[in-house]
Amino acid sequence: MTPWTDRSGKFSPLKAAVLLGACLPALWLAWAAASGALASAAPVGLLGARPITEAIHQAGDWAIRFLWLSLAVTPLRRIANWPKLILVRRMLGVTALLYALMHLTLYAVDLKFDLLRIVSEIALRFYLTIGFVALAGLIALGTTSTDAAIKRLGGRNWNRLHSMVYVIGVLAAFHFFIQSKADVYEPTLMAGFFLLLMFYRLAHWRGFALTSPLVLVAIAVLAALGTAAIEYAWYGIATGVPPGRVLAANLQFSFSIRPAWWVLATGLGVTLLALVRPWFGRNEPARGRRAAGATA
């Protein structure tokens, strides 16, 4: 099975598209890095005056984004009744791992591969320690994701091991928060998306139907409120910014649209997906717990 064919060996446009999408950020980074090195007349390349730092940040961003995308597969399969999506879950997860490894490698480049310093920095700086634990977790999941390893572990054990991804997600988001300089807009946004993804699971486990627009809207609203709460708490606990000011900013749109709104919009977008789903012919038989609620 290549990264662009399904289990029967047929070309899968879905897999090919995800493969391409997974490579694009790396290709862009490589090109941007080369733009600085190649054009000797240009004082700075596309990555700015501190290219390694910029690349570390972008690789970290993509690691967390792909991790979230891999976590979106299961709820989206249910919501959009699109079981085939499972085909790309492993690829998304492995991509997250590869970007995280690139992120660490670039960090090592930044420290000139001074192993002693790298290790001592990771041990000394709390946010790096957290990132390291998250990366170790991702490596554990990545190396147990081959067909052979899955067979060896058995489905149940594999699932149990891989539920570690939720802890890894929390650690990665926490790492993102702590490394920020005062402004935690982007980590808040990612934390909000994570909430959304977790609420879909929670709802499913509690027996709610992820095909019901009502349930989906409720999840979107709750995740948005949760996002605002996380933002409020972070500023209140970790910074000198009056958190009330941040909370109030949720209702002011002149300067920025706060993360909670983007989370709400995403949740509502997903609801729309569930609404238009019946118009697309693929009427596959409902399965699992969802089946009970689907008719409600």
């Binding site: 862009w28 941007a32 054009a39 007349a41 240009a42 004082p43 700075v44 390349g45 596309l46 990555l47 700015g48 005056a49 501190r50 290219p51 390694i52 730092t53 910029e54 940040h57 972008q58 961003d61 930044d110 420290l111 000139k112 310093r117 920095e121 000394l124 700086r125 709390f126 946010y127 702590i178 490394q179 300089k181 005062a182 402004d183 807009y185 982007e186 946004l189 500023y235 910074t239 000198g240 910014v241 000011r245 941040v246 109030a248 900013a249 002011q252 002149s254 300067f255 920025s256 649209i257 983007w262």
Partner: protein
């Protein structure tokens, strides 16, 4: 429109990251259309591809207008005589690098803030001098800058974010300004404040930060010859992204202490609390003296990345100015001096 074109800053140098965070970078206001001098050097034109050439031609055509509007009335003061006492252990950072890697949150949090910073209106510019002084007064920058002889000094600049650059600043020692202000004996600190104009400076709409930017030093520090008021750089009036028309530079302290675009200078008895200290007291203190042994809570300060050369070099105590300034701090608590 012209606004999208000046310089390479909008086409290049902008780290392209996915972000829905801020107003898009192309949303630039009108007065940016003619940045300072619409300066076109040959290299920059050659760098560009076809589009660049076209841009250059268009700009050159409009450059006359741009110059007339923005002609700096203090341009004749530069280059200022070099003060040979201040030498560097490394090359001067090229202007194009220095001018595209700045923290100027008043105009946004991106490092390449040069294009946005052109919105800064620097004329007329008055400086209010007050607090515990003989007689408070307001002085136009153009008058002030001709009251004290200017000199050029090569200084190292060390950012708290563990990068550094070297700049050929021009200006005068802060102590000359202090002498002009005639502080009373009760003045213990000098407090600096920049402009507050969210309409001009978009970043000041960001509610996270307690605008305006404030910084402060002790009266002893202000009297030290190294403390420098910058009015020029690279043999011309200082660029807007560096904090035109006048800014502070305290080369032995982390960069955030060196406030840009000063509007108000007050002599006070109580220790001023700077913007960063108000925001994150655990990370940005009042003293902020450079010390490689005292890490920032999130990273080591042992080394610094030198812009342009990209070298990673050891950071020095007081950023290499220990011989000059260490005496200011004898007998003080080292627990707070370096953060």
């Amino acid at each position: 429109m012209l606004a999208a074109m000046p310089g390479h800053s909008l086409q290049r140098n902008v780290p392209m990251t996915f972000s829905i965070h801020r107003r898009p970078s192309w949303a630039i206001s009108e007065n940016q259309a003619t940045p300072e001098g619409v300066y076109l050097d040959r290299r920059r034109i050659l760098q560009g591809f076809g589009l660049g050439m076209l841009t250059a031609a268009t700009l050159a055509a409009s450059a006359g207008v741009g110059r007339a509007q923005d002609a700096d009335p203090t341009a004749d003061l530069y280059p200022a005589k070099k003060n040979e006492a201040y030498k560097l252990d490394r090359p001067v950072t090229p202007e194009e690098i220095n001018g595209h890697y700045n923290n100027f949150y008043e105009f946004g949090t991106a490092k390449d803030i040069a294009a946005n910073a052109q919105n800064l209106v620097i004329r007329p510019w008055e400086i209010e001098i007050g607090g515990l002084v003989e007689t408070p007064f307001t002085i136009a920058f153009d008058d002030l800058v001709r009251k004290i002889p200017l000199e050029t000094r090569l200084y190292r600049h060390r950012c708290v974010e563990a990068w550094s650059m070297t700049v050929p600043w021009a200006g005068f020692p802060l102590k000359s300004l202090v002498a002009l202000a005639k502080p009373q004996a009760s003045a213990k600190f000098v407090r600096f404040e920049t402009f507050l104009d969210p309409e001009m400076a978009d970043g000041q709409n960001d509610f996270l930060y307690p605008w305006p930017y404030i910084e402060g030093v002790t009266i002893e520090e202000a009297g030290h010859d190294l403390a420098f008021i910058v009015t020029g750089a690279y043999d011309k009036p200082v660029a807007k992204q560096h904090g035109a028309p006048l800014r502070l530079h305290l080369p032995w302290k982390y960069g955030f202490k060196s406030i840009k675009s000063i509007r108000k200078i007050s002599f006070v008895e109580e220790r001023p609390i700077g913007l960063w200290e108000a925001l994150q007291p655990s990370e940005y203190g009042f003293w902020a003296n450079v010390n490689p042994e005292v890490p920032h809570p999130r990273w080591s300060q042992a080394m610094e990345r030198v812009l342009d050369t990209g070298e990673l070099v050891p950071t020095q105590l007081f950023n290499g100015y220990a011989a000059e300034v260490a005496g200011l701090y004898t007998g003080m608590d080292p627990a707070t001096l370096y953060m």
